[in-house]
Point group: C2
Chain length 358, copies 2
Amino acid sequence: MASIYFTPGPAQLYPTVEKHLQKALDSQALSQSHRSQGFKDLYKRADAALKELFNLPASYAIYFTGSATEIWERSLQSLTANSSFHLVNGSFSGKYLEHAQWLGRKADAHQVPFGQGFDIAQVHIPGQAELIGIAQNETSSGVSTPVSDIHALKARYPEPLLSVDMVSGAPYAQLDFNLVDMAFFSVQKGFGLPAGLGVWLVNEKCLAKATSLQGQQYTGGHYSIASLHEFYQQFQTPCTPNVLAIYLLTHVVEDMLAKGIDVIRKETDAKADMVYSFLEESELFQPFVQEPAHRSPTVLVAEVKSRPASEVISKLKEQGLVLGSGYGKFKDQHVRIANFPAVSETDMDRLVKAMRLL
Amino acid sequence: MASIYFTPGPAQLYPTVEKHLQKALDSQALSQSHRSQGFKDLYKRADAALKELFNLPASYAIYFTGSATEIWERSLQSLTANSSFHLVNGSFSGKYLEHAQWLGRKADAHQVPFGQGFDIAQVHIPGQAELIGIAQNETSSGVSTPVSDIHALKARYPEPLLSVDMVSGAPYAQLDFNLVDMAFFSVQKGFGLPAGLGVWLVNEKCLAKATSLQGQQYTGGHYSIASLHEFYQQFQTPCTPNVLAIYLLTHVVEDMLAKGIDVIRKETDAKADMVYSFLEESELFQPFVQEPAHRSPTVLVAEVKSRPASEVISKLKEQGLVLGSGYGKFKDQHVRIANFPAVSETDMDRLVKAMRLL
């Protein structure tokens, strides 16, 4: 019998993926040239569906990359000449900072301990920062930054470009895209797709900044915003992209729109409440994140109190329930439970019941 | 009825792809973490199969990227501090040169007109070149550089790293990997897979050079050879890769090994001979590449003599035979016929018969 994957990515496939995959094969969409009208039509359809899902202003552009990780690098190359600022509360927000350091940028950070969120009033960003990086959902620790805090950060610092890593928060996180400048995610998390595609949402202010840096420094060459945008205007990509992933993303986003993103958000909240309520009252588990407002609704991290986490993971795996292990040094103390749209309320109920019986 | 794709990539899918895709879904391999033992086992298996297929010395490393295009950039970042040299005879070999220019390297080139190959004796490479880039098969013009010429180039210039773009020549091209330092390809051409994966074959000399440059310059950060190699030693990748493409590649390479790479090469030669013989005697077509020794066995380019190429392409498409159009400004004069392993002798025979009746 098939297992249910509660892993934080690669994750459970969205229920319609297999059907769309079959259709991609039957229609020979995967043999079609990425310079053909057929591909342009697909990209245009992806663009329209994603704009609707995220309620993007029409002026936004959407680019595809090989991974979200690549967008850390490309955004810094195309959008900063000297300095960036990072809000760091875990491994992934820390990696954005590391990319800036590798690229020789003056990279400052506001850091809080692993497992904590930010008090936006305490964040002080130096005037020269050209870009602020923040993770809306820190996949390593299960800490989420409420979108209202991200919007408040923009109100306090309107000038620097605000770049939001929503890798494990999309499409749940209801960002106001008038109040951020770019965001990005990969498809193997909340969209329930096979891995291998990064999606980059970029506003006009980013494009203007990228244009101003073009010719002044190495902005990413073929993979710079300037290059991506030039191709985007014809619904093309600089190099042959992961066409299958774009195909599946387009169809899954359309399925999500048909279901209703509000319904998906409500279901996500209900499933998250179910798990957190159980963790609060459990003898064996407790929520790792202390502050309820910072507990992620999409990647839930539980501390295992009196046993090695690996034992819990093994026992649940035997029952076809696959959890993620704790990140890095928390491997033996934490379990991570992805609460993505591909996981149904019935699945989550089954998991909670099984955890209760451990 | 399904069409047959003779397009130079994305191309006809290898006949076993659909079966392997179904198995990937059934085994839930696409939900599995890229940090799991299951993924490590897959990478290890891919590594062994590719080493056998290309007859790679054991010391070679194999890395995965988002595309072959990315390897132009990453190889220059990780392997050159100052200068590179490029043999240019078409758009794709020209793009490797462009990447070097974008990265601020002193990039020299030996250029010959579109449609021509190289006389290796005429190539003079300045002493400071750290890397020589050459396309074993120029997808834009249908010119192939015989592997013996590539080996001769190494004999004349043993010092610089020899980097071979075999994007549309693999796995047919029988390179002696003791006589080149790195090579790369993407999977949507000769391997008949959905697009979205670059494969990079790297020897110890490259690794040593990359190590020497580490800390001296930006070598590609997370995507540098140093980083790729650190992860490779555990059969891991720096970021979440296109797991599905790696899965399919592994299985298709194993199928190719079972069939025998020599058989595949012989079939490729027989199909190429069939097409070139027809082009030679045709009233409507002629081989674009004049010099028989430089005619590609894997991407065959034909000039259409008395009609627009688009008309020929449309008429064949109606019969379910999809050709590639000419590259760039040759769009209206050329057709490109990919002769990859996924195209059978029966398919090619059908195409030639249809072309004869035009």
